[in-house]
């Protein structure tokens, strides 16, 4: 079997996954709500903002508001992606599509790969469309093309791949809703941990430390877990730094992305292994 022959059913299954999801009423409603939210944020771009008695420039306002909107969209689409992904295998099973596909000369890895690609493409499109609205509004307001938004969007797509693969894997091992909640807990854990880490390294935290006091031992459970925890928040920060062109330490810049890519590969391998040994009912 050559590559194009092997990829043909993968792409077909991906297409069916994508079209089946788009046909769902819940998808259309969610998309409409998200698009309305992004359009409503438009009003914030024209406001006059005073910080410490100083009026912010229009450019600062546009950049700040669009960055916040960008972050909300990236995090929100992760949640929506988890919602789409959690029911995919179960629905295919109950509607007979799994047996229909796997009774054809199609290998299980091709089926799983098709599902992953379909869900990933769908969620990336969902996010890119919403980000493009922000990009369009920001570019119009500043009268300059802000292509960095789209690069940042591409970076955030790795988070979506992580969500798709992990929810699909966990949905094979536990109830769909539990799989969804587990992945959400991982995501929330990542944001909270990065927040605490940023706070502990802030100037306020440094100032609060007693002069002459010995710093606590770093070998706690959390300091061991923190570096290997899925860096969903880190990837979003990396994307955000692309938008604002902030200086990002070289190692810190790439580590979250490498962390998420490695997780995608490891969880993807486990997903193929687990589905390969599943009984099809």
């Amino acid at each position: 079997m050559n590559t194009s022959q092997a990829l043909s059913p993968v792409l077909r299954i991906a297409k069916y996954t994508l079209t089946d999801e788009v046909r769902q009423k819940s998808f259309v409603i969610l998309f409409a709500i998200c698009a309305i939210f992004v359009f409503l944020m438009r009003g914030c771009y024209q406001g006059s903002y005073l910080v410490n008695g100083q009026l912010l420039t229009a450019e600062t306002v546009v950049r700040s508001v669009s960055k916040v909107t960008f972050q909300i969209i990236a995090a929100g689409v992760m949640l929506i992606t988890a919602l789409f992904s959690m029911r995919v295998f179960r629905r295919d099973r109950s509607e007979g599509m799994q047996t229909c596909i796997l009774s054809k000369p199609i290998a299980r890895w091709q089926y799983v790969m098709g599902k992953v690609i379909g869900l990933w493409v769908l969620s990336v499109l969902f996010m890119v469309i919403l980000h493009s609205i922000v990009f369009f509004i920001a570019s119009m307001s500043l009268k300059t093309l802000m292509a960095e938004y789209l690069i940042a969007s591409v970076l955030c797509s790795f988070n979506l791949l992580f969500v798709v693969v992990s929810v699909l894997l966990l949905s094979l091992l536990m109830a769909d809703i539990v799989a969804f909640l587990c992945v959400m807990a991982i995501g929330i854990g990542s944001f909270v941990a990065d927040g605490i880490s940023a706070l502990s390294h802030s100037q306020i935290a440094q100032m609060m430390q007693q002069p002459g006091a010995h710093p606590q031992s770093d070998m706690t459970f959390w300091t061991l877990i923190y570096p290997v925890w899925p860096k969903l928040s880190g990837v979003q920060q990396l994307a955000s730094s692309v938008i604002s062109s902030e200086a990002f330490p070289a190692l810190d810049a790439t580590y979250p992305l490498i962390n998420i890519v490695l997780y995608c590969l490891a969880l993807g391998w486990l997903l193929f292994k687990r589905f390969g040994s599943e009984d099809i009912v």
Binding site: P9, S94, L102
Partner: protein, 234 residues
């Protein structure tokens, strides 16, 4: 065409299929009979690699069942067949044709032919959620026939159908007989099996009790139902 060699499927301490061996030749209409829980569906699932045997070998078209290429010329109708309700019968058939890597024009030609064969002209465009059980079953059988398979595996094709639906499925299967297709039929309806199948095997508690030509199994004017009860009750 189908070869089972000492196949066993163990679920914890229960042997759903126990050292079963038989073969089905090309062009044969074969029925696998047995009471509920005898292991018939497990055998079908192992043939299609939906579940793996604990021990033994299964092959389809000369290839091990774990090789997806063995399903290249196989049509399958599942027990309690389902079709996604948001699709129309036509969209479902088209998907099945596309999954067999057919060109768009070939897929459309095949689907037209199948719709005619299953007698669903005029209803193929409506959503599956509006179909009766019999119509879903007909589309399921139609989907199994796409790509002109050499082997048709039918798991309880008449389950849930009324007598008219059962007769229609039987007539359809009889019409396929002269096309040289091999049919593996898993059914409870012994009268229907007697009418269309050449060979039968009876299985109970995972063990193969008999496998022979139906004309050989039936003795002294017995019906298949009487033979079935005789074997199953021991």
């Amino acid at each position: 065409m189908i070869e089972l060699n000492n196949v066993t499927k163990q679920y914890d301490s229960l042997a759903a299929v126990n050292q079963v061996s038989f073969s089905v030749n090309a062009g044969e209409y074969f029925a696998l009979l047995g009471p509920n829980g005898a292991g018939k569906t497990t055998i079908v699932k192992m043939m299609l690699d939906f579940t793996r045997p604990t021990s033994g070998m299964l092959s389809l078209n000369g290839l091990p069942s774990t090789n997806e290429a063995c399903r290249a010329a196989v049509g399958y109708l599942a027990e309690n067949h389902h079709i996604p309700p948001r699709l129309s019968g036509w969209q479902y058939l088209l998907r099945c044709a596309e999954l067999l890597d057919m060109s768009p024009s070939d897929a459309i030609d095949q689907c037209r032919r199948i719709v005619e064969l299953i007698g669903m002209q005029g209803r193929e465009g409506t959503k599956v959620e509006t179909y009766s059980k019999g119509m879903v079953q007909r589309f399921g059988l139609g989907a199994a026939l796409i790509g002109n398979p050499k082997l048709l595996i039918l798991d309880e094709p008449t389950a849930g159908l009324d007598p008219i639906g059962i007769r229609e499925i039987r007539l359809l299967l009889e019409s396929l007989k002269n096309q040289g297709m091999t049919v593996f039929l898993n059914s409870h309806l012994l009268s229907e099996v007697e009418k269309i199948c050449d060979t039968a095997a009876i299985i109970n508690c995972g063990k193969l009790l008999v496998k022979d030509k139906i004309s050989t199994i039936l003795k002294d004017g017995e019906t298949l139902e009487e033979v079935f009860i005789r074997f199953v009750k021991g």
